[in-house]
Symmetry: D2
Subunit: 148 residues, 4 copies
């Protein structure tokens, strides 16, 4: 089974809410930041344009289950699993952890499906697109399953 | 079947991303803003404190499926359905629409489960709590199902 | 003296922080939302593209003084003054109020300068641009000063 | 003259807007994240509570001048200067840089004044407070000026 990609960040004060914990919408931003870091590492751009066509990875589905709160200044670790490579999409599972050693806790679990799309740079509708061979080659070693 | 609660807002420029569409994390904030408006209307506070104990509604699960993009300045309508009242939790389904008349499109569908909790004002762990009779009385007319 | 443009919104739960008040970065988003509403009302687009060139209004300066905190669920009123129309820029002053009647309080004052720019749709550097005669005609009645 | 405190982060996709650049409100969040990191390093908490009284550092003024846009994935460096320690407040100047070597550019300059305050944990108005001797001792070596 493929190793997860590890992404770390410190929880910002601006990410908390008046309940004293990180707002639940931030986990989706953190999942995306982890995806960005993964794609950057393997050399697949999250966004690209040749001036005629723009390419990107919009989300078609995202979910998160919250087990325990995360707080200001927590050192957050996101373990991002590339579960499945589909013809036109990537399916991720993100496990969120905080704390070190005995204090380490699995605080949330997210899922996200990103679809590869293009659209005219000058404007117009998005269209889904098959991943390129270069993308497949770079992403397959990280994936648990390749359905293409 | 109970009528959904209607919440409207205009998509802000700050809510867009470089793909030219509203960022997917915002739908969770919009779902929560719709929940806030619903609770405000029926007189159930989203957050309360008597100086000894704080009460709130953290999310334990949230998800969204994105059908079509939403753009800057779109007039967004959230139809919030209170699907189920449980002993300690509320389950919502949110349907997102943009456009008027023939242009009207169902652009996304979200789900969210909020749990009623308390914690000591002076700090300490959160604990889930049964909804009060007053809450049940105010929320039941909006719910499709009451499992208490 | 020109009347300010009035923009209202309810403070979201997601806009609060663990200090129990709205995070100070939100006032800049609110100022921009008020600017968007003003420009929409007079028919000057905040963003436009003809497929070859993109037009926009990036900020070159923004500031805010915070007099009193703003809280979840507060009904916020932004009084946006278009202070000065310059050849290539608009200078705004925003006064933030919450509360009604005797409870009404002036909680913050912001300033913002937006510059009119264009850039190639296919990518490339931004360049500042003189406001068009149509823009001047639409904006001048709202401005306290026109320096063009 | 005291050395600035260095804080680095990568610009997130979620921090961009439809103009293709980082939204101007994020610089205020980045300035605060740099302040958090500085205070963490010297051992002054950004937020604290003894269960009776809460302590914090709300902003009373913040401003930013934007020289050049910042983009998705840019490696941002914030040079945070603690300009002045006042009896009850800290004044910062933040210089934002992106790029390495010959490509390095000074993209923005921000200012921020944070006031030391307390309020009853059980709720009530905030009150400004003199910095403690322990805070002064920890912060003075970083400050360009101490006016206490």
């Amino acid at each position: 089974m493929a190793e997860p990609f590890i992404y770390r960040r410190i929880v910002d004060f601006a990410e908390t809410d008046m309940a004293g914990i990180a707002h639940f919408s931030n986990y989706f931003r953190w999942m995306e930041a982890a995806e960005s870091a993964l794609l950057r590492e393997v050399g697949v751009p999250l966004t690209a344009s040749d001036g005629v066509t723009d390419y990107g990875w919009p989300r078609v589905r995202a979910s998160c289950s919250y087990h325990e709160p995360v707080r200001y200044s927590d050192e957050l670790e996101v373990q991002l699993h590339l579960k499945t490579i589909k013809v036109k999409a990537l399916e991720y599972v993100a496990k969120f952890y905080v704390g070190q050693g005995d204090e380490r806790r699995h605080v949330a679990t997210g899922k996200m499906t990103s679809v590869y799309v293009c659209k005219p740079t000058a404007g117009g509708p998005m269209q889904s697109l098959a991943l390129t061979p270069a993308m497949l080659e770079r992403l397959a070693p990280l994936a648990e399953e390749v359905l293409t």
